[in-house]
């Protein structure tokens, strides 16, 4: 009896973790972009955030230009944009509400308060001087959630689905963070190695909280190649795509074995394939073939993994085969999450 977990609850736990991770990572992306934009003139930097999410249509339905204020408003506080941090906080809270019989009261109260505060923010809170503390607070609120979860969440089946959601989302978001690099930093290979480039890679590493770890590993300097390799393939950095995929693979294997779940073989195969993809290639080869193309491929595979978990465990109907996945939907293109 106590070993059973409702399919819908597993789904909601998976998405609870994804939404909190998404809020944190989006804060990181916006924070780093804010740092970049100080070095440049014009607004193309902010447009790249919109392009990164493939949301030009939704954005320009609300705003005429991709100014800092408009893009920040759209991605931080706009409750009508399902991809905003405020929407992620709301969705995390709504999922948590349905999960209260499973999660700790502390987890619930903190998410409830996070949502309440996010929902109360307005454009005035995004003024330049307030932005950095705001992003710091959002990141801290998400990390607080993570810490409370670590210390209070009962570790049965549900915990595995929660962790799977966290790692899958984090892998996806790290590929996006890197993709900004493609959009913004390497439009022209001849820019490569210029001073501004290094400072921007520097900021990128800091936004992923990877600066010091990277420094220990590559004491000689910061090169785009090594930074990309670090964020994609490093075996020990907690936000690297490889580590997230490897953790997810271990979690799924342990979940299936411990609870005798016969389903989810397709998800296991997807993870196996993803890990093979990331193990079998060096960063040099990736850059030669095209970083953006590689990131695109990883994101597509992550989407397929999410769908395989959905049909294997969450009770989603299998999707008709061969429909191409869009690489950048913030909401999955498959069946809807419990709360969008």
């Amino acid at each position: 009896m106590n070993d059973t977990l409702l399919a819908r609850s597993a789904d909601a736990l998976f998405w609870l973790a994804r939404y909190v991770e998404r809020a944190e990572d989006l804060a990181r992306i916006l924070d780093v972009n804010d740092t970049f934009s100080r070095d440049r003139t014009g607004g193309q930097n902010w447009l790249s955030i919109v392009q990164l999410h493939a949301e030009e249509e939704a954005f320009f339905a609300r705003h005429s230009i991709a100014s800092a204020a408009n893009v920040l408003g759209f991605y931080v506080v706009d409750p009508t944009n399902p991809s905003s941090i405020a929407s992620a906080a709301r969705a995390a809270r709504e999922n948590a509400r349905t999960l209260r019989p499973l999660i700790s009261t502390e987890m619930w109260v903190q998410l409830n308060m996070f949502h309440t505060r996010m929902a109360a923010l307005g454009p005035a809170d995004l003024a330049p001087g307030r932005l950095s503390p705001l992003f710091a607070w959002i990141k801290e609120a998400c990390q607080l959630h993570t810490g409370i979860t670590e210390g209070t969440f009962y570790r049965d089946q549900g915990w595995y689905f929660y962790q799977l959601g966290r790692y899958l989302e984090r892998a996806d978001q790290t590929t996006r963070l890197l993709d900004i690099k493609y959009h913004v930093l390497l439009p022209d290979p001849r820019d490569h190695g210029s001073p501004i480039d290094v400072s921007q890679w520097n900021a990128l590493l800091r936004s992923a909280a990877g600066y010091h770890a990277y420094r220990r590993l590559h004491a000689t300097g910061i090169t785009p190649r090594q930074v990309a390799g670090f964020l994609l393939l490093n075996r020990r950095f907690p936000r690297s795509v490889y580590l997230c995929v490897r953790e997810a693979e271990l979690l799924l294997a342990e979940l299936k074995a411990r609870y005798g779940l016969r389903r989810g073989n397709e998800a296991a195969e997807q993870l196996d394939g993803l890990r093979a993809l990331l193990s079998g290639v060096g960063i040099g080869e990736i850059l030669v073939q095209g970083l953006h193309e590689f990131l695109d491929l990883v994101q597509q595979r992550l989407n397929l993994l999410g769908e395989a978990l959905g049909t294997g465990f969450f009770g989603y109907a299998p999707r008709p085969a061969a429909e191409p996945s869009s690489p950048f939907p913030v909401s999955p293109s498959g069946p809807p999450a419990p709360v969008q």
Binding site: L6, R8, P101, N112, Y259, G260, L261
Partner: protein, 471 residues
Amino acid sequence: MILSDYRAPGYYCEMTDAAAAAPVRDRLAALSIDALHRRAAAAEAELYNLGITFTVYSDKDAIDRILPFDVIPRVLSAPEWHQIETGVIQRVAALNLLLDDIYHGQRILKDGVLPADLILGHAQFRPEMQGVDLPYGTYVHICGTDIIRDTDGSFLVLEDNARTPSGVSYVIENRHMMLRAFPDLVDGVALRPIDSYGLQLLAALRETAPRHAADPAVVLLSPGSYNSAFFEHVFLAREMGVPLVEGRDLVVEDERVYMRTTSGLAPVDAIYRRINDDFLDPEVFRPDSALGVPGLMRAYRAGNVSLANAVGTGVADDKAVYAYMPRIIRYYLGQDPILPNVETHLCREPEGLAYTLDHLDSLVVKPVGEAGGYGITIGPRASRAELGACRDRLLADPANYISQPCISLSVSPTLVDGHVAPRHVDLRPFAITGAKTWLLPGGLTRVALREGSLIVNSSQGGGSKDTWVLE
């Protein structure tokens, strides 16, 4: 001094007219009004943070509201509680015997104690339940009995809630809140604890589960997170440690109920449902209901799953049937009611209608089928036009109404707008019945926060208080 200017002339006051409340009065007197306000504000903020809210939906917004919480407790002495406890147990026993009879031999109708048309023609009478045997004859597993006090302090039953009574989560959360916000008020006062509600409920649900289940799987069936009482569903599922399911999580195969889990279908034996009969099974009741489970009634009738409360209990908690409760108690139990009814005139009967029409300005007129305090006309407070409209409704459909004398509900000191003033209260104790009946000590004290208002329902400006039963 908090109570130094407090007066409640003409009403029974739960605090100042009750000798047993003296220790609580003394402790309250030591607090300043400012301190009371500060702590009340902190308690309110905590209710929001804890999400102890119900959701009100407007056209485009979903607003989370708290049930306003008054920090001054309502105190009941041990003898007072003894009368309520034994009286409610008696009433629940009579309700279960009545339902078992209605859905089996219908002896009470044949003996002419209850008019057959009142029962058999009732919208909540479920012919599907005819001949279905339930473990221990328990139909009303959870009962909420609304009790008021007259000016002399005597208890009167106002209403039985035998379908899906709500509010128990506030009782327990209010207590937790009081213990945190007013440790000094509670210190040294021997209160009956209320922490075992979840355990008692789970035990009753397991007792009344189908007998084939050695270790019955219990679930709580909710309409979902958009239901205004969702917080309570969450609360109860947590307190019992059982899955909180929605209709879409359940499926019926070969007249057995299963839930969809990560490893496939898992059997379900007992369901505490917080969905009305009408929405329970689209095969039998409302075909458009997406909240229920197709085939659930087949599984239920086959004895493969239990439902709490049973299907068809709504026929017993009707305001017209209520008028017969003293006779029903005597018929089945051979006892006088321990808790009297409010004197009730049935407008379906010619003399009841005539009396009601003659005394309209001094009576409370209530529609029999409504809940939530809606459709009530309070004679002494109604305008001439309102009385006229009430008279028209009565004449058009007399069977839909009852009338009762206007009871001056008791009051309790309540913190309002910077001072403490008397406000009317009622009491809803919660009774759990498996093999036998257990009452949660105290219950939900609802308070009408508007000055002079007699309507305590949360949908109409009501709040709640912690209810203390002293040892």
